[in-house]
Amino acid sequence: MQFIKIFMLTGCLFIMASCKKNLQEKPLSFLEESNSFKTAADATSALNGLYGRLKSIYGMNMINLADLNGDECEVRDDNGSGSEIHKNLFNSGSGLFDGFYTNSYGLIDRANRLIYFVPNIAMDQKLRDQIVGEGKFLRALAYFNLVRAFGDVPLVTGISSDVVNVKIPRDPVNKVYELIVQDLKDAEAVLPVKFTAANEIGRATMGAAKSILAKVYLTQKDWPKAASKAKEVIDANIYSLVPDYRDVFLPEKKNGPEHIFSVQYSCLLPAYGSPMAENFAIYFSYPINLTGGSYQVTLRHANSYLTGDYRKEVTVITEKRIANGTVVASRTGPHNDKYWDPLACGANAARNNFLVVRYADVLLMYAEALNETGGPSAQAYEAINKVRARARNGVATAQPQDLAGLNQLQFRDAVLQERSWELCFEGHRRWDLLRTDRYIAAMQAIGITTSSKHLLYPIPLNEISVNPALNQNPGY
């Protein structure tokens, strides 16, 4: 027995300090929860991680869910899943929903971790509050997208560690909105007015929180609150419309005075590039690999512009002159030119940001909210006419002329139409139609069989199979 003890002792001493230590698995080259939230820099890295994840929720994912499923955008026949979502032929098995749902909850979980762990870090309190505030902003944004897409969704605000008991049921929409509103209010209180450091530009500001909160109120049909939030953004005098509508979209002019919150893309490396440019480009016009995308503009939308509206020139094209001077014509219909980037850096990688909310949107939200509270007021006209004035691009006689003398219903239609011209292909259309209860009619108008079940997307099939506590939306 003594001998065995000596054996063990020599062995462990030879290998390491103690036998027990030999069995402890201590990560040496990656971080764990325990050492991921120690310093202010850790908090920033974790927050950067949240921002990075926006790319997997916005980009083409949001275009698919919000624009393609609408009356402005369609795809060529060879895009099968795109065609399904455009024509309301999808079912719960579609990968688009699964990706969107999964990535949104991925963001929410990382936000939950940040909100939970960062307050324990010993660091500058103001910065700490701000980082937690940004986490809340992003969590609210993710839930806002989820609740608009699926209705009731599981409301997760803590950290999961159990890998066996993972059944989580859905929570009612209003409970989810309670969290969204609370998070945005918290964020609004602590977020800075502006970021100036190069490695911070693009992070959420107070204006971003107020603007999203305005949209949340608008979606909840809480018009007075929506109007007052939008007004706060306007009155802050931080944002303005850029004079040339084209400059809203030029990669060189991103993060300008009109941009309130954008998902940041870059051609620093192809991995950081955005996918919209190639997907919307006319086939054979895209400079990188001489192919292009299958996403097109519906004829209805292309024809809806008033003659002379500069925004049509910027948005809708049927041919493209590419760098070497060749003119490539579309053989399949009009294309959207908002995301054209002649200096794209790879397949599905260009420099354009994805614009989540910009000042024109806030102006139109303000107009919409005021109109709903008591008909078109002077401030409502002022807001919408600012947007229309810019669309004339300096040509006083051009369309669209300023609005005047509309009744509430006419004004409501005018705002919706204005949003379509101004904000098409920016991830708004389906939500706008749903908010104004025009979705079914609009889809039917372009010949797509649509019923009330389509007001909500189906809960992804995969999720139901791994989380039986989820029930499916009606009709799927």
Partner: protein, 1111 residues
């Protein structure tokens, strides 16, 4: 009377010795008699005659004499304390007991001894050293010297001389008179006495209870192999070896009794001289530079004495959590007592590709492009436009890219070894250079290695020893897999493309822009301008000490380390397509691994009349640390230095690195009990604590039990003339598979990068959820076996049937997104392997002409029993070349896809088929089966299991013929019942000739005037993902090795033995497979995608000449 006789003798001997004037100078203290005898023999030329048993009983000797005469010395040695005395006769000194009886005998022998001498060789003429030569009546004897010579005094009137040597039949010769004898000894036919190495011990084969196969140095020697595991191919039942890459030093897939796991490792555990080695991964490099180096290529096969493969749970349970995939024990050579040899071995070989694919000429390729354009309704390109004014016929034969990249390549091996020793110190020292050029240009493998094995006896109780190997190898590999590899490029680039352009530079793009051919890199340019060099240093060493604690009780303490260091330099110049856009790109990667081991064991054995017990118990500790780093850079203004200095690049990329550790604490034990030497029991257990396992499952216990019954030793069979050996073995046990990756039970936060504007920032986010319940995969194995030896053991059969059930398979289990993760690795799922294997050894002729046969055949079926909440899941191969399915009730990783159903012949047929035809199908298009018969052909739903890459049967057969000094061995090997997904052919048969195509495509394409039902028209038809048309029968029978050797009948003093041979490797293969070679597994590391040919490095035929000299 007695006394006078003795006195007389001594007196007369005195005179005799003196007359020779023999003097001895010797100073020893407490020396063993044998040592003293040797010294006296050396100094005087006299030879001692004694029985070994006598020498052992003699007292140790103290002596201090300077130039003393022989008799004085002998009197000092045989003083009154000794139990023995001596007599001198002629030049012999005979030793006798100091008893009355022996004195009488002695007195007889004194007068009557006659000298007999001779030379002992084996039947091939090779001298045997250390053969015991004993007089039958007196038991006196001697041993043969290194040249096989011996001399002994035989009593007048004759006696029987008994020659005995391990591994040879005992020979008795009746000697009547003095003279010279030429003795030839016959090797023994397996008798069950040979020793089999087991984990933590060794056992006589007759006492074995588990299923263990072994091969010896003979099978390893004289074969042009870079790594020892290649030598197991076809030699061992139940072990499937596939040269996954035939590149020099390339990877090998080894499966013992089928694959146990879906997502964890299926590789067996390799134990080299008791050291369980890990297989560290190679250093990382640029993405496109895949290579599969074989880490075991560091071990020099020429140093290996034997390889044992432990197959059943009884044998492997002593390795506990690492035993489930089988264990391969490698034992290297050690010095032997009383020998001293210098061996020099050399071979030189030429390797050539076994087969070339029949690809189109430039004329055919350009004509095919024109035909495609005609079929699509476009104008022809070649001979028509100003860009390509030449007509197809004017392109002629073009470039034969296969000839450009394949070459006949040399393989060389030089080995020098010294081995020998005394009873105090034994040594084995060797040095080796192995140098293999690849048959693809610019690839080669070179190994320098040296070994030192020592054993020393410190005193009666303590022995110490070491094993050390140091090796460095250079592996110059080209990218092997997929289109970016040279084989892929050479079979896709158009023959119309020249190697050099008009200016004498490498032609970069395939033919040129607008040619209608895809852009592929020029393989010759890639080979000659890019680098993919891997340099590996490996030192495996251990030191051990055996301490005898009491009778039968021994302790062994060993300490060892395995130091591995690997560096990879990769560089692509702008001459390659990959490096062109980046203006040159390069990377440096390093991987270093340190594995340290301490093992402490106690062994005890005791034998009584009916009972025999062997016990081993021990504790072991192992710890491993791996450190890796890699840097990459692009845009080299000057690329003459390659990636030797990445600082020369304009654009460095972020570096990467990692450090990983694991530890294993184990407690092990084994009890062997034999009752009446016929009923054998073995109980084995190991408790493994492993850092890999989750916090809730740190320790696992792996027990096994076995019973064997030596039926042939029962009285009722004892006298049986036919059945010499009959043993039944039954075992059951549980072993584990810890190849589940490191840190998988822990949560992880991954760091990455994202951007704000054009500024990069660091990110950190949770990337893995913790699973503290994670544990080993568990395999329960039942084995029943029979060992039969009949007709004096001239026919020996070993047969085993086994059922292995693996539970707790690690699978990625999907999680609800609300957890924040998509999947977690959990122990769910199970699968089964069942099989039958049989090994046969026969001695067909055993006269002057000898003929021996050994063969084996194994059958294994693999079946998935349970998956998590699902009946199946799909897997794409690593190279995305095929789709496999893991489905309950089916073997793991079956090819899954659409079924080719010929070619649409007429428009009518297509119209009638409706949605069964694909949109746009015209006559000449590919037709697929509507498997679910819903009237629509749908790529996703009309899929079925097409086949499986794992053979149902594997076999090998060796015939050895010996005649005088000649020997001829013929080794056949094969597999049966597997499919290969020929992804390379899929590209070479594409109907769109944008890449080079097979001649058969041009010859057999569907044309309106010459319809085909196998090849579509040359147009743009797209084959589906995984398509039965490209699945081929992978069965083959191969003449793997034929060797003819000759033992030169040399009679030169300083050369003890000389042998020359010529051998052919891979001489001939019978197969229906249409690719280069049916032995292929491009997804080397995948368990679920076995048998894909994605432009694999082809096999070579090798002719080798060799010589072995012993000095």
């Amino acid at each position: 009377m007695k006394l006078t006789a003795i006195l007389l003798t001594i007196a007369c001997l005195h005179a005799d010795a003196k007359s020779f004037g023999q003097v001895v100078s010797l100073s020893v203290k407490n020396a063993p008699p044998l040592q003293v005898f040797n010294e006296v023999e050396k100094q005087t030329g006299y030879t001692f005659i004694y029985a070994k048993e006598q020498a052992e009983r003699m007292k140790f000797i103290n002596l201090n004499v300077v130039k003393a005469d022989l008799v004085t010395v002998l009197n000092l040695i045989f003083n009154e304390d000794q139990l023995f005395t001596y007599v001198i006769s002629g030049r012999y000194i005979a030793i006798n007991e100091k008893t009355a009886k022996s004195s009488q005998n002695q007195s007889l022998s004194v007068a009557d001894v006659m000298p007999v001498s001779g030379r002992i060789t084996d039947d091939g003429g090779k001298p045997l050293e250390g053969v015991s030569v004993v007089l039958k009546t007196s038991g006196k004897g001697t041993k043969s010297k290194s040249d096989g010579s011996f001399s002994i005094g035989v009593p007048e009137g004759g006696d029987i001389l008994v020659f005995s040597y391990v591994g040879f039949e005992v020979l008795e010769i009746n000697v009547k008179k003095a003279g010279q004898l030429a003795i030839k000894m016959k090797p023994v036919i397996n008798s069950g006495q040979e020793i089999v190495v087991l984990g933590y011990g060794r056992v006589k084969k007759r006492d074995l209870t588990g299923s263990v196969s072994s091969i010896g140095a003979t099978e390893l020697k004289e074969q042009p192999i870079s790594s020892f595991n290649q030598a197991l191919q076809g030699r061992v039942s139940g072990v499937q070896i596939t040269n996954a890459s035939n590149a020099p030093g390339g990877g090998i897939t080894v499966r013992v009794r089928g694959g146990n796991s879906i997502s964890a490792s299926n590789d067996p555990l390799y134990v080299i001289d008791g050291f369980p080695v890990s297989n560290p991964g190679p250093a990382s490099g640029l993405n496109n530079a895949t290579a599969f180096p074989n880490p075991l290529a560091a071990i020099n096969p020429n140093d290996i004495e034997s390889i044992e493969v432990l197959k059943d749970a009884s044998a492997t349970a002593i390795y506990g959590s690492r035993g489930a995939n089988g264990v391969v024990l490698v034992t290297t050579k050690r010095g032997k007592d009383g020998q001293s040899n210098i061996d020099f071995e050399v071979y030189y070989g030429i390797q050539q590709i076994t087969k070339k694919l029949d690809l189109v000429t430039a004329e055919q390729h350009t004509a095919a492009k024109n035909e495609q354009l005609r079929n699509l309704g476009f104008p022809e390109r070649y001979g028509n436009s100003s860009a390509y004014p030449l007509k197809p016929a004017e392109y002629g034969k073009g470039t034969d890219w296969q000839d450009e990249i394949y070459r006949s390549a040399a393989i060389k091996n030089y080995q020098l070894s010294f081995y020998g020793g005394s009873d105090k110190l034994r040594y084995m020292v060797s040095a080796n250079l192995f140098d293999q050029e690849g048959i693809v240009i610019a690839s080669n493998f070179k190994r320098y290695s040296a070994r030192l094995n020592l054993d020393a006896k410190v005193n009666d109780r303590i022995k110490i020893g070491t094993n050390f190997i140091v090796s460095r190898n250079y592996n110059n590999g080209v990218s092997e897999v997929g289109l970016s590899g040279l084989v892929g490029l050479a079979t896709t680039i158009s023959p119309a493309s020249p190697v050099f352009d008009a200016n004498g530079n490498y032609q970069l793009l395939n033919v040129g822009p607008g040619s209608g051919f895809n852009s592929y890199a020029n393989p010759v340019a890639v080979a000659n301008t890019s680098t993919n060099l891997s340099v590996t240093d490996r030192v495996i060493g251990n030191i051990f000490s055996d301490i005898s604690l009491a009778k039968g009780l021994t302790a062994r303490i060993s300490l060892g380390a395995d130091v591995f260091s690997n560096r990879r330099n990769i560089f692509y110049t702008p001459q390659t397509l990959l490096g062109n856009t980046a203006n040159g790109m390069g990377s440096n990667g390093t991987a270093s691994n340190l594995n340290i081991l301490n093992e402490n064991t106690l062994t005890y054995s005791k034998t009584t009349k009916y009972h025999a017990v062997d016990v081993v118990a021990g504790v072991t500790f192992q710890h491993n640390r791996e450190e890796r780093s890699a840097v990459e850079a692009q845009d080299f203004p000057n690329y003459s230095l390659g990636s030797n200095n990445l600082a020369l690049a304009n654009k460095p990329l972020p570096p990467s690195g990692s450090i990983q550790e694991w530890g294993l604490n184990s407690y092990l034990g084994r009890l062997n009990y034999r009752f009446k030497d016929r009923y054998l029991f073995t109980v084995t257990g190991r408790m493994d604590g492993s850092s890999r396992f989750g916090a809730n499952n740190k320790y696992g216990f792996f027990p096994s039990g076995a019973f064997a019954w030596r039926i042939s030793d029962e009285p009722f069979l004892n006298e049986n003339k036919i059945i010499r050996d009959l043993k039944l073995r039954i075992s059951y046990g549980i072993t584990g598979n810890d190849g589940i990756g490191l840190y998988n039970s822990l949560s992880s936060y991954g760091t990455g990068r994202t951007n704000f504007g054009n500024t990069e920032v660091l990110t950190s986010s949770a990337s893995r959820i913790a699973n503290p319940d994670l544990r080993w995969e568990k395999t329960g194995q039942f084995d029943v076996g029979l060992d039969v030896g009949i007709l004096n053991n001239r026919i020996q059969v070993t047969a085993d049937y086994y059922i292995k059930t693996t539970k707790d398979l690690l699978l990625g289990v999907e999680l609800p997104a609300t957890t924040g993760f998509t999947s977690v690795t959990r122990n769910v799922g199970s699968l089964e392997n069942r099989g039958f294997e049989i090994g046969l050894n026969t001695v067909n002729l055993n006269g002057i002409f000898k003929w021996k046969t050994s063969g084996n055949i194994s059958f294994n079926t693999n079946k998935v029993l349970k998956l998590n909440d699902a009946t199946e899941f799909f897997v794409s191969s690593t190279q995305n070349t095929s789709t496999s399915i893991v489905r309950i009730g089916q073997p793991v990783g079956s090819f899954y896809g659409n079924v080719f159903d010929g070619i649409w012949q007429t428009q009518d047929e297509i119209t009638k088929a409706g949605a069964r035809a694909r949109a746009g199908d015209l006559p000449g298009a590919i037709k697929y089966k509507d498997l679910n018969d819903d009237g629509i052909f749908n790529e996703a739903t009309d899929r079925t299991i097409l086949g499986n890459g794992i053979p149902k049967i594997i076999y090998g057969l060796t015939n050895n013929f010996m005649f005088k000094g000649f020997n001829l061995s013929v080794f056949l090997q094969g597999v049966q019942g597997n499919s290969i997904y020929n992804f390379a052919r899929r590209s070479m048969e594409t109907s769109d000739p944008s890449a080079a195509i097979l001649k058969s495509v041009v010859e057999n394409a569907w044309r309106a005037d010459k319809p085909s039902n196998t090849n579509p028209s040359i147009r743009q038809w797209r084959p589906t993902g995984t398509d039965s048309y490209y699945l081929e029968d992978g069965s083959f029978l191969r003449v793997k090795n034929v060797l003819l050797g000759y033992q030169l009948p040399l009679k030169i003093q300083f050369i003890k033995s000389a042998r020359v041979y010529i051998s052919g490797q891979n001489l001939f293969t019978v197969t229906k497979y249409r690719g280069y070679d049916p032995e292929v597994n491009s997804d080397f590391n995948s368990n679920t995608s076995y048998g894909v040919d994605a432009y694999a490095y082809p096999a070579a035929r090798t002719i080798t000449f060799g010589a072995n000299l012993t000095f």
